[in-house]
């Protein structure tokens, strides 16, 4: 069928797909509280009392609408973490995040679900599951999940 050898080619192409995701009423309240008050809010299920962070409309387990917002602590216990050695392009800024960086899953005091965020990266050796970490906010807050810069290990003697 192919008596002659034609070159095998590929065509490079990029798909650029911009989005405007709604935060909705629940996400909007979370980031506004972060910006204005440096406070993290969750939401409590009226049936099972589970407190979810970030807040959302439905408790999936109970299939019930939630409407009781509760303030949770900026401090919590590290449940799991990783240190990442490959960079990623921040979809909001288009900039590359320097490596390494840490992610932690944090059970904030007063919450039942775990909150995922960056961990402070000066000394990853200090991290272990079970340590207390605390949110550190950016100086200029814009109303974003990333108004929290990262979570940082609380040293003995740090004021709570």
């Amino acid at each position: 069928m192919f008596r002659k050898n034609y070159p095998l080619l590929t065509i490079s192409s990029e798909i650029e797909l911009p989005y405007n995701y709604s935060l909705g009423k629940y996400g909007g309240r979370l980031v506004t509280e972060l910006k204005q008050n440096g406070r993290i809010v969750g939401i409590k299920c009226p049936k099972c009392d589970h407190v979810y962070v970030p807040p959302r409309r439905v408790c999936g387990r109970c299939f019930i609408e939630m409407d009781e917002f509760v303030e949770v602590s900026n401090r919590g216990i590290l449940q799991s973490f990783t240190v990442v050695y490959f960079s990623f392009l921040d979809p909001e800024t288009g900039k590359k995040r320097p490596v390494p960086y840490g992610y932690g899953r944090i059970k904030l005091d007063g919450a039942d679900s775990e909150f995922l965020h960056f961990l402070e990266e000066s000394d990853f050796k200090k991290l272990k599951i079970g340590v207390t970490v605390e949110a550190v906010y950016n100086e200029n807050r814009v109303g974003s999940f990333k108004d929290i810069k990262y979570f940082k290990k609380v040293e003995d003697g740090d004021p709570s």
């Binding site: 798909i15 797909l17 989005y19 909705g24 009423k25 996400g27 959302r56 409309r57 999936g60 387990r61």
Partner: protein, 379 residues
């Protein structure tokens, strides 16, 4: 076929931008409304089929993001990335399998969050059509031109569809664009891709729709107003636009034939009381009417002129206002099924078609109606 019924329906209002709700919030609203409508609880639902598309959601494995909101926690959930009529078809098969008494089918889309042009451009072959920028509007314009030229369909005849459907939408509380317009308004509206003008086109919409399908025994136990599935058919045409005559909706004719045979319908125009068909653009109501056998090929223009498809006509088409009046992609076909269910239950108030007993709902998938799904429902 075992008897399966639609026992519950739920819809959000369709709007240009639902900034207050995430896709999960919309799914929860539609799902809970369908459960309330059926007067059952989530514990009575044996499995869930969601309908979503990763490009529209801007999220891969988009189905998994709505598991909490659709009540599938701890249940079997599966997803169809197609129009809602195809999602409902899968839901129907799951009930027919005998493994599930009931299926909740829920579709969502927020057209406002992404770019219609870029997302529909990505439908096409990346090496050929996509590279020259083709999208849903320009590809449909190629189909409209081909159809209109071949059969002498005029722009004014297409405009009549838009006039009728936007007027019908005034009686539909879920519709987005409900307004009295004239043929001149359509003709003078902004040209998008010749011959398609702004008022020949469906809007960008946000919304969700849910239906609950159930086996006969459960249906009889829980509801006194079931809508029975009498017939169903679907068929697909070639992917490449160049491999089809875009003026000939052969896949739709095949799908309709299957559905009519199953439902025992010989003369669809006379036997069907109300139809909801996928008019993403005004010309499509005419072209799909031909494919569905409501008139001969090429006679779609004459059909709309005859007035027989108005709300008081012999076969009212799109009394809800159709897709022209609200076009949440993927959701729109399921909304056609929901509207026919409302009509057959006699709950259409201002838009109710008198004495509707047998209805037809139609959905499409792919560019220029590559695939079609036809439902025949009966009260």
């Amino acid at each position: 076929m075992e008897r399966v019924a639609i026992i519950g329906i739920g819809q959000t209002k369709y709007e240009r931008e639902k900034k207050g709700e995430t896709v999960s919030d919309l799914v929860f609203e539609a799902a809970t409304k369908a459960l309330d409508d059926a007067k059952i609880g989530i514990e009575d639902i044996d499995n869930v089929v969601t309908v979503s598309n990763d490009f529209w959601d801007g999220r891969t494995i988009s189905s998994m993001a709505v598991t909490d909101a659709c009540g599938s926690y701890g249940k079997n959930v599966s997803t169809v990335e197609d129009d809602g009529t195809f999602g409902a078809f899968y839901g129907l098969m799951r009930v027919l399998s005998g493994s599930f008494r009931s299926t909740l089918v829920v579709a969502h889309c927020k057209g406002s969050e992404g770019s219609n042009h870029l997302i529909t451009n990505a439908i096409f072959n990346p090496i050929y059509e996509r590279a020259i920028g083709l999208d849903s509007i320009s590809s449909s314009a190629l189909q409209a031109r081909r159809y209109m030229e071949k059969y002498g369909i005029t722009e004014e005849q297409c405009a009549l569809v838009s006039v009728k459907n936007h007027k019908n939408a005034k009686d539909n509380p879920f519709s987005q664009i409900a307004t009295d317009i004239s043929v001149e308004d359509v003709m003078n509206s902004k040209m998008l891709s010749d011959p398609i003008k702004l008022l020949d086109s469906s809007p960008i919409s946000d919304g969700a729709c849910a239906i609950i399908l159930a086996e006969e025994r459960m249906t009889k136990k829980v509801t006194t107003r079931p809508v029975w599935v009498k017939g169903i058919g679907h068929s697909t045409d070639a992917y490449n636009l160049g491999d089809r005559d875009l003026a000939e909706p052969d896949a739709l004719t095949r799908a309709a034939k299957k559905a009519y045979e199953m439902a025992g319908i010989q003369d669809p125009f006379r036997e069907i009381d109300v139809a909801e068909i996928y008019d993403a653009f005004s010309y499509q109501e005419l072209l799909w009417s031909e494919g569905l056998g409501f008139c001969e090929r090429g006679m779609g223009g004459r059909l709309i002129e005859s007035g027989k498809t108005t709300k008081k006509g012999m076969l009212p088409i799109n009394p809800s206002g159709g897709v022209l009046s609200a076009h949440p992609v993927l959701v729109a076909g399921l909304a056609r099924i929901a509207e026919i269910s409302i009509q057959l239950r006699g709950e259409g108030s201002g838009r109710q078609v008198d004495g509707a007993k047998i209805g037809l709902a139609h959905g499409i998938n792919g560019a220029c109606g590559q695939a079609h799904c036809v439902w025949i429902l009966e009260n």
